[in-house]
Amino acid sequence: MTTTTPSPGPWHPLIIFPFAIALRAILLIYGRWQDTHSPFKYTDIDYLVFTDAARFVSQYRSPYDRATYRYTPLLAWILYPTTWGGWWFEFGKGVFAVGDVVTGAMIWWILRRHFGMDVRRAGQFASIWLLNPMVANISTRGSSEGLLAVLVVALLWAGLERRAGVAGALLGFGVHFKIYPFVYAAGFWWWFGERRRSVVEELNDVLGMVTRERGKLVGASAGTFMVFNVGMWYCYGMPFVEHSYTYHLTRIDHRHNFSVYNTMLHLSSLAGGEGGFKVESLAFIPQLFLSVLAIPALLAKTDLASTMLAQTFAFVTFNKVCTSQYFLWYMVFLPFYLPFSTLLKKPRTGITALVLWVAGQALWLQQGYELEFNGQSTFVPGLWFTSVVFFLVNCWILGIVVDDVKSRGRDVVADHPAESKKDR
């Protein structure tokens, strides 16, 4: 690595940020135009769910009166201005797009402050998120993932700053907002332990695991989580609990999706109660073992950001339901992982991974298209086989990520035994 600071060139924040904002503004206006002129809508169906729920809220009704609203009522509240009509309808997409850009700004800031990058490199890597057309497209179509990305990156920032209370509060709120961030609790638990003690050492001294920081983390996260839940439960009662939480445990929605378990779940649901014990009811074991136990325990103390990436990647890959918006959940961590990853250092591996990842999806999508629009029964072997291929590709990539973080751990320990990475 060079020590002279190269000129940021086109990667200066004064260029990439206006560019990112303009990209989203154009997509917003274009979407509005397409929606008013074409029966085929730019706006995501989920956004109509949110805005319908907001309308119910504005009439002092429950957002859960809208079928398929399965989110915190806060989302409907935030979108209250969309009920004012006209351009206000786009308000929510604007909020999500702003969330996107704020996420990008936080990524840039973390890269500068905690990864010691110069302006040019920070701009380049932040652009993976900021100028990513997929990200801008998803948020301007009205998917709320942009807001979640803000929370998750803010959580990372709080962790890197070692602010346990703030991290706990963000974590609790994040889980309230969308369940999956609970996996980060495990990573943060280890992260807020004593840096020099390995997990094995810690486990040998269970009482010594309880530290002030961890106490703050647990207290703040549990407290925030419960405050929001009790508040929402007070407002909307059991429908809130059912739609936000228990629905996700009992869902029998087998519409084809990327998950490797999909065909198996479809078949066993067809069989109904017959057949006794179901193997797929154990699907949570490999998923949670990796994302909550093994990955955070072995990697969190080394590199919090990449651990969060690996946890999310494992959670999504091994999940019983998987759609393309879930990919955004881990994409937000790529700017922190790619700078030192094998995928960039060895372009061959990187390109192979990218091509396989895209091809895995393309193969599956082709089978899905045959089913959905041509009425061909491609459930087996088509959809099943391609989902297995995509799953294995993801596992292979996850293995590379894990490997990279481990080897980075050895480097960091060797090079910088100090607490802060700021001067790296």
């Binding site: 929606d35 074409s38 029966p39 809508k41 169906i45 109509l48 769910v49 319908d52 079928a67 398929t68 869902r251 029998i252 929605d253 087998h254 519409r255 490797v260 378990y261 065909t263 198996m264 479809h266 078949l267 066993s268 649901s269 067809l270 069989a271 109904g272 193997v279 797929e280 699907a283 490999p286 073992f289 990796l290 093994a294 990955i295 072995l298 494992a314 091994f318 094998t342 250092k345 089913l371 629009f373 009425g375 061909q376 029964s377 491609t378 459930f379 087996v380 099943w384 799953f391 294995l392 993801n394 596992c395 292979w396 996850l398 293995g399 490997d403 481990k406 080897s407 050895r410 480097d411």
Partner: protein, 478 residues
Amino acid sequence: MRQRITHLLPQGTSIDPSAIKVTDDGLDFDDVELAAEERRITIGLKQLPEEIQAFLEDFHELHIRIASVLNHPTFSPAVSRLPPGLHAFFTPRAANADTGLCDGLKKILGESVKCSNSSESFVKPPILSERFAASSTYQFYHSPLDLAVVSEVLKTGVCAKLDEDSTLRTLCETLAETSSATQVDYDFDVISHAVTVTILWPPVDRKGISRSRIAAKKLEPEDRLEVGILSPEKADEPEELSMGGYLTVLGEDERPSLHPKLTLSLPASTLQPPKQSCALHAYWTLPTALFIDPYQLSDPLFLASQNLLALRSLAGAQDLEAPDWAIPYPWGSAALFELATPSNTTSDEIWTITIPTHLRYLNSTLAINSQTPLAIPWPTVFWACEAEEGLKFATNPFDRVDLGFEGLFGPRTMFYHVPADEKVDKLVELLWVPVLERGSEGWVGVGTLLAVLVGFAWVCWRLVRGGGGKGVEGKKER
């Protein structure tokens, strides 16, 4: 017991009164083959078998309507239509009380019927009109089934148990002969304390085969029997202006998808409304296998692109995500659409209306090449017109109410039904739906398990592997 037999002739048929012969079996005249026949039998509650009396005790009113899938011409005044299949409308005696209806339906239609004895397992259509405030509370529909099935069940399950030579046995056998009918209605309500059965037989069928006639005889000496011949005069009634018939196609082009569209094709030239105040509607009953997404149909631009004006009412199973087997009841859904009409009704063009639907995943026991057939009824298409102020609705002896949609209209509405294209045989569409067939559980299970184990083991190995190659390499590169 009362019987009324009416021979309905096409409009303009002239009958020579001298040619009408009164025989022992009723009336005979030259054009008897051309006439549709409506037979209405009214039976006092006390005359019915105890089992049926006990069954009816649960109901305040019960209307069962069976519409054939065969497309028969209709003659005024028997013009009202329902989507083919079995419809039931009822109000339990006590609000929301259980009834034996579901058990009865299961006897006739098989165990797979989507209902339970609780009234709440049926669809409660919205009632928007005062005029029909007395409309039945609950609705049931079972997608196209042949009248022959009902006949068979009646014959073997009911008639055989009745005393031979009894009046009821004769009546029951008459009802069992209804497999050639266009429609059969069974109506009961507490106030009239009677069951009315109305059967409409078509004239000679399109293949020129005449049906077997049932003699018009009193079942008991004290019965009343009315026989009549009706040939509508050319009247100034607006419905006489109508109607060219319509065609429907499901799944549109030859590629069926998981989102089939129903296409209604009407000759534009026939879409002249009977009166200025009329609006064209389609009423559709759907099994749970198909559903309509009300949110998709709330966007005016999208509606306009399908030549729809609005989804006026949707009742029943509306879950947008659940597979078919996860919906034990209700039986499906009923939808009322207001259709757009062409601005230019003088052209010869075909006016096309599409109704987008979505398929649920189906659990199929019968599949060929992983596709299972699904029978979807045609909707009925009709004009709903506001009656002029001051017009009294005279009681029409042929009026047929409780068709499921009256309650959705204003208090003074007249309906003019648009018949289907007479060239079409059956008012039902067969759709081949892709399904996941049972039987692959074994290798899918093993394969999935294997894939998960391999993936999981690979990641675990990467996690626990000690100071292996890549780590050292990474260090060297620095």
